[in-house]
């Protein structure tokens, strides 16, 4: 019989009247990987925050290796051997890897630094688990995947026996995610216990021994990964079967947005190099690629927040100069930014303010510099109703909406205006299954209505499911387009690796 290193017993936690956790019980055995699966807002992160002592539970208790864990004290959790890898890393970008790992472990009044011993320990850990990283590299210079490795090493350095990872793959590329999972399996093999939080079915099936499904703050099911299927988990997670919408074949229209050898140079670095594409009405053009290859520059350029340094852009067949955000909005270009909390919406402002901010100078929302609140709120209420934004009304502070509902708001304020072109950067990133399906359905609906959609995404399934044609972006260059019907995931993988360049050469 395997011993339980962690027992969570009847934990409940409410925020306001909202029960985020409702009598949750689960166990974790030595050497086991448990996936905590659930939609956004199901209570996963709350539960892990309670476990790590960030929150104090209203009821219930937690035992680590048979001993009660005092609630609400992160330090006690660390001492008990619990390590946490946050979704947004808690590392200092201006310190080196070694300094980051040591932070919080040294005695404040010690005269000697323990860096020598720390370096040896870090090296031993890195070798033992195959987490290679240069201890003297400045953290800010590392890739996101490497930074995550540092975060894991930091937990291990604190002698963690139980490791909690909060949506560890949200920021990783597919390849990095695979590496991560083989590392996690190795750690489990060596006797560590792991919980990882996720709402992605593929990775849960690939990496976990056991799956605990949360819905509405309750444990709704527990399955061994070997004895379940993606379909069953999806159903358990959402409570009803979800079908991702399917793209129907239909005729595309005339080209509405064309780029010819467009380059963007920022501070002497080429972000886009001689990029060309032709976007037709009524089609979805997918741009795939590993993040950091120029997607952000492409999205910003077409959203009006960046200007090109060379090349021509034709909008509706006419050459245009530099265009501002106001120009894009006025010429019927809808924009969904990559980062919804930073660019897409302002958290401290009301839903209605976020709904109309980019159109506030239009006469229907303001006259002689005065905001027409009634019209603005009515517009926001239409979006909330038509696009099924839940968790608040037009006057709610936007911060209080969940990620999926915030995205519906952003999507809604664009699509309500029936744009001729939609620039969608990672529109479904970080959303739960239900919200992903909703966003995809809306994009296909817009396509059917004749909108030209430029879909920038790292999610291959998403692009294959939605796009008519696909181009890859690698090192700021775009591949020639391929028809989505002619390619499979393997061919796209090669495109993302830049294989087309050899053919061209």
């Amino acid at each position: 019989m395997t011993e339980n290193v962690l027992e969570i017993d009847g934990v409940s936690k409410s925020f306001g009247g909202n029960k985020a956790n409702d009598g949750i019980s689960m166990t974790l055995a030595r050497g086991e990987i448990v996936a905590l699966l659930g939609e956004n807002g199901a209570g996963k992160t709350t539960l892990m925050s309670i476990l790590f002592g960030h929150y104090t539970p209203d009821e219930g208790r937690i035992r680590v290796a048979g001993a009660d864990l005092p609630p609400g004290r992160p330090r006690a959790a660390i001492h008990a051997g619990i390590g946490m890898v946050h979704q947004h890393f808690s590392l200092a970008p201006n310190l080196t890897v070694l300094e980051n790992v040591m932070t919080g472990t040294e005695k404040l009044w010690s005269l000697r630094s323990e860096s020598g011993r720390a370096r040896a320990k870090l090296k031993a850990l890195a070798e033992r688990f195959g987490l290679v990283v240069d201890p003297d590299a400045r953290l800010g210079d590392l890739s996101v995947g490497e930074q995550q490795r540092v975060e894991i090493l930091k937990a291990l350095y604190n002698d963690a026996r139980i490791l909690i990872l909060d949506e560890p793959t949200a920021v990783l590329t597919n390849l990095e995610a695979e590496t991560l999972f083989s590392t996690l399996k190795e750690m489990a093999r060596q006797g560590l216990s792991l919980i990882f939080i996720s709402h992605k079915l593929d990775e849960v099936m690939a990496a976990a021994d056991r799956v605990v499904v949360l819905r509405g703050g309750k444990v709704v099911a527990e399955r061994r990964a070997a004895e379940t299927s993606k379909a069953e988990l999806a159903e358990l997670m959402v409570g009803h079967r979800v079908a991702r919408p399917v793209r129907e074949a239909h005729e595309r229209g005339a080209p509405v947005l064309e780029a010819a050898s467009v380059s963007v140079r920022i501070d002497g670095v080429d972000r886009l190099k001689e990029v060309s594409f032709r976007l037709h009405a009524g089609e979805v053009l997918g741009i795939i690629g590993v993040s950091g290859n120029g997607q952000a520059a492409l999205a910003s350029l077409l959203s009006g927040t960046l200007v090109r340094s060379a090349g021509d852009i034709l909008l509706y067949g006419e050459a245009i100069g530099d265009f501002s955000v106001a120009d894009t909005v006025a010429s019927g270009i809808g924009r969904i930014p990559e980062d919804r909390t930073r660019e897409g919406a302002i958290g401290e402002m009301a839903v209605w303010e976020n709904a109309v901010l980019e159109r506030i100078d239009e006469p229907r929302f303001s006259r002689r510099g005065l905001v027409d609140r009634r019209a603005a709120i009515a517009f926001a209420e239409t979006i909330v109703r038509d696009f099924d934004v839940r968790g608040g009304g037009a006057r709610t502070r936007t911060r209080l909406l969940s990620g999926g509902n915030m995205q519906k708001l952003i999507l809604g304020r664009n699509l309500a205006e029936r744009p001729r072109i939609l620039i969608a950067a990672q529109p479904a990133r970080g959303l739960d299954e239900g919200a992903v399906a909703a966003v995809h359905a809306r994009i296909l609906e817009a396509r059917k209505a004749g909108t030209a959609v430029l879909l920038i995404s790292e999610d291959l399934d998403e692009v294959i499911g939605l796009a008519d044609r696909i181009q890859a972006i690698v090192g700021g260059r775009l591949s020639p387009p391929v028809s989505a019907d002619d390619v499979d995931a393997r061919a796209l993988g090669l495109m993302m690796a830049g294989a087309w360049k050899k053919e061209a050469a």
């Binding site: 104090t56 609400g72 980062d339 660019e343 302002i346 958290g347 401290e348 901010l357 905001v371 209080l400």
Partner: protein, 349 residues
């Protein structure tokens, strides 16, 4: 014990926050009054009597509140948009000296209906100029305006000091460094006869409502709030960041400069280097006490003026130093910051 961010802030809490902060500050400075050997409650009673006990003291308190309302509005407007204008004091002096210079040199013979608006305007413009410099440095070179606007205070006071000891020196002031006076016709009329209370108080009061209206109802108010809350979000929505912050700086610097102009035209008629007992700095306290709300600024300025004016009366009656007023006002800023924290977070055991 832990702190958790509140999801919702009830209205009662928002209103209670400054009241509790002031009560806590009064309780704390009560300890000092007790330590000075005076009865605490009587001391506070004396402050109240000193500030409002007679027609003279009441008008004096309102006179004192006038520049505080304007510098408080200046800070509140800027802070709302995350423009950290710490230079209210310098802008106050620039506004004052510009008013005195224009009033004594160019408009000395002009009738009041012409010179008063022009002089108020020149004070406001001078204040704007002094804040546009740090803002430009921030937009162009990312220089922190906290530092630059603060340091410009000292530059401004020295420039004023040079002017009133040089080109603008009043030859009839028996050698004291004092600027020449604006014409009597250019002085703001009294609001209450035989007192120092002038129309500047009404101007400040109206401006508080104007600023409130601008912030809550206009496109500019919405855009400047967006620019302050999230520069990236504002830029994505097409808010011209530089232009919006520039206008915010004009409004903020203009209000602080106007405070200086109003003080010259309402009270003194000329400028000395002790024209302001720290109105610019106190304006920051006033704005914070008001929770950056323009109408709250009016109340916070009245509270601060009450403490300053009333403390003199208390000091005379009970023989304890009037510096207790500075302590109380300073303490109320600290307790307000603590209270704001507790309004945003709740304690969990």
């Amino acid at each position: 014990m832990r702190f958790e961010r509140r999801e919702h802030r009830p209205l009662a809490l928002i209103v209670l926050t400054p009241l509790l902060a002031v009560a806590a500050a009064l309780a704390l400075s009560g300890l000092l009054i007790a330590a000075a050997g005076a009865p605490v409650l009587e001391a506070y009673w004396r402050i109240l009597v000193g500030a409002f006990g007679s027609r003279l003291s009441a008008t004096e308190t309102l006179t004192r509140a006038t520049p505080l309302m304007l510098t408080g509005l200046a800070a509140a407007v800027a802070f709302r948009a995350r423009v950290w204008n710490i230079g209210g004091e310098g802008q106050f002096y620039f506004g004052a000296i510009a008013t005195a210079a224009v009033g004594s040199q160019l408009l000395a013979g002009a009738p009041g209906y012409l010179s008063i608006p022009l002089l108020l305007l020149s004070g406001a413009v001078a204040g704007m100029v002094l804040l546009i410099v740090p803002l430009w440095l921030r937009l162009r070179f990312s220089v922190d305006e906290v530092v630059t606007s603060l340091l410009l205070n000292f530059v401004a006071v020295l420039v004023v000091s040079m002017l009133i000891d040089g080109p603008l020196k009043d030859p009839l002031a028996f050698g004291w460094p004092q600027s020449q006076s604006v014409a009597d016709a250019a002085m703001l009329p009294k609001l209450v006869a035989r007192s120092r209370l002038h129309w500047g108080f009404a101007i400040a009061l109206v401006l508080a409502f104007v600023v409130h209206f601008v912030q809550s109802r206009t496109v500019f108010g919405l855009k400047s709030r967006a620019a302050g809350l999230s520069p990236e979000g504002a830029v994505f929505a097409g808010v011209p960041l530089a232009r919006t912050l520039f206008l915010v700086a004009c409004l903020s610097g203009g209000l602080a400069g106007l405070a200086g102009a109003v003080e010259v035209l309402g009270v003194k008629g000329y400028v000395t280097t002790d024209l302001s007992p720290g109105f610019g700095y106190s304006g920051i306290v006033v704005a914070m006490l008001a929770g950056l709300h323009p109408l709250g600024v009016v109340l916070a300025a009245l509270f601060t003026a009450t403490m300053f004016v009333g403390a003199d009366g208390m000091s005379r009656a009970l023989k304890i130093p009037s510096y207790i007023a500075d302590v109380t006002v300073a303490l109320s800023l600290i307790t307000m910051l603590v209270a704001v924290f507790f309004a945003q977070y709740r304690i969990r055991r």
